[in-house]
Symmetry: C2
Subunit: 169 residues, 2 copies
Amino acid sequence: MQLLEAKKQFVQAWGALGSQWGINKTMAQIHALMMVSTEPLSTEEIMEELSISRGNANMNIRELTDWGLVTKVFKAGERRDYFVGEKEVWKIAKQVAKIRKTRELDPILKLLEQLKTVNAHIKNDELKHFQKMVNDVHKLAVNVDRLIESIFKAEESWFWDKILKIFTK
Amino acid sequence: MQLLEAKKQFVQAWGALGSQWGINKTMAQIHALMMVSTEPLSTEEIMEELSISRGNANMNIRELTDWGLVTKVFKAGERRDYFVGEKEVWKIAKQVAKIRKTRELDPILKLLEQLKTVNAHIKNDELKHFQKMVNDVHKLAVNVDRLIESIFKAEESWFWDKILKIFTK
DNA sequence: TATTGCTTTCAGTATTTTTTGAAAGTATAA
DNA sequence: TTATACTTTCAAAAAATACTGAAAGCAATA
């Protein structure tokens, strides 16, 4: 396979994966483009490469910047903005985990804790079951939360080494 | 908080969480409804509870059945179909992981393996960088794959016990 | 200060996804 | 066999989401 074709497929696949996980396709594609590019890219180049409008490119670059996956860089003599994507895959994974944890897991945890205070005059089966359910979900969420917290601190090879050793022992 | 209100919030939150992770909101809500319900539910009851159409209810119940999260049950004397949701949270998590791994992770792995065969006449930096990138992503994907495989086999408390021990040592 | 080159915004439009509801399908019972 | 009770399907409608492009903003230089 040729490099150009391979890049195209990588960008496509990244976009599709994004969609399936609630991330804007274009945002994921721009990210993929930046991952495989050695040079900083301008908005113009991204528009060109993905056949998208200026507005679309701009908004998604900003979103990626907000996620901490893309940084603005200045090129000597050049007036226009250039952007580089984080290249370290483990850092990318950690960053995505961090953002999504804050935005999605934390609020759910908060709600579950509230729901644990649910009460009723008559202690019937429905109530008991609801309480158990919420408790179980909460336990799982807390564990996932802890796991993610640990990931933040961990160095990649150490992390996988430890994790996978558990299951082969 | 009262039980009815708590249930409503739980269903709402589950739906929102689903949306954010590429799962149809209604599907997630039906699932939540079934998680907290002690009794089997009919299509009628689900329609009523969530204010959705028959078609919508039917299609999403089927989807949940395909995911292995909901089972059809027969009520003695009753003609209509009733459904029960899997109640064990760990089983639900495993099942979701299994389905999404097959549908999403496996194809990505396959593509990454293909992309590793990329070649070019001139061995320039762009090529080298692409190869490294694909390799790194592939490594991560393989590790995630292994982790999920391990989850399938693991019993919940054992799993978390082992995992969390690593990080407190 | 005016011009130029570039960035940002956002109302309107297009696309994608989800939902509806009525008709067709199926199975049980009369 | 026909009626009844229920389920499934799917074309069309609605809703949600993403994208465009032109106008407004901003900052560097002439």
